[in-house]
Symmetry: C2
DNA sequence: AGAAAACATTACTCCTCAGTAATTCGTATG
DNA sequence: CATACGAATTACTGAGGAGTAATGTTTTCT
């Protein structure tokens, strides 16, 4: 065996949780919501609706998923709910993927 | 407006392609396949089957998806097909997510 | 208390995708 | 040429998730 052995990308026991986490990010609506949350640090649901144009029930559900996944934080103030990103690694992940997609755009690697 | 404005996580035009790419990685079988491809640089389909225990049609389909997505490269040699990872950014993404999941494991952030 | 605002939740439909068995295609071997 | 092997493709079933309308819940205001 002359080939170099590399460590795995993901420890075997973490394959499923990692897949679950990636799945949580792998949605256009959730990415758009995270986008506006990143631009303005904290937003009420209504503000997110205005900024994204999605419907209330839809956004509320996605926010619930993001919150349960620990990606987003919820702060209740009176009748409103304010959300903000609480997972700093999200940024790095999105940067990497976005960069890769941009590069691939230039080449001919589109489905 | 006293708050600092951060750039978006993902440029608006890239939200959908980025989501699609994350979706491609957000699957336990595909992550496991990428895992063994990372450990041994290049593997035939049969070798991947032996190493992962998944079924032929299943793995072949996932390999097709990964190849069409430009994450994996296919090399035909005789009757066999050899696959290898051709997207270097995959490693960084998996590292980030795995690290985050590990950290969250220690805390109480599980669904 | 009654009404309205801001979110969350539910129930439902639809569509995508994962897994499997069976078939097909291409290449080597006797 | 017939056969066997390795892999891709097809057809099919089932489960999960997205979007929506409608309803529920909590808080505020009068």
């Amino acid at each position: 065996m002359y080939v170099v052995m590399h460590p795995p990308l993901v420890p075997d026991a973490l394959v499923e949780p990692v897949a679950a986490r990636l799945k949580l990010l792998a949605d256009p609506v959730r990415l758009a919501v995270l986008n506006v949350l990143r631009i303005h640090q904290e937003l009420s649901v209504q503000e997110i609706l205005d900024l994204t144009g999605y419907r209330q029930a839809n956004v509320s559900k996605h926010l619930g998923l993001l919150a349960r996944g620990g990606i987003v934080r919820r702060r209740k103030e009176g009748v409103k709910a304010f959300y903000s990103i609480c997972d700093p690694t999200v940024q790095g992940i999105c940067l990497l993927v976005a960069k890769q997609v941009e590069d691939a755009q230039g080449a001919g690697v589109l489905g």
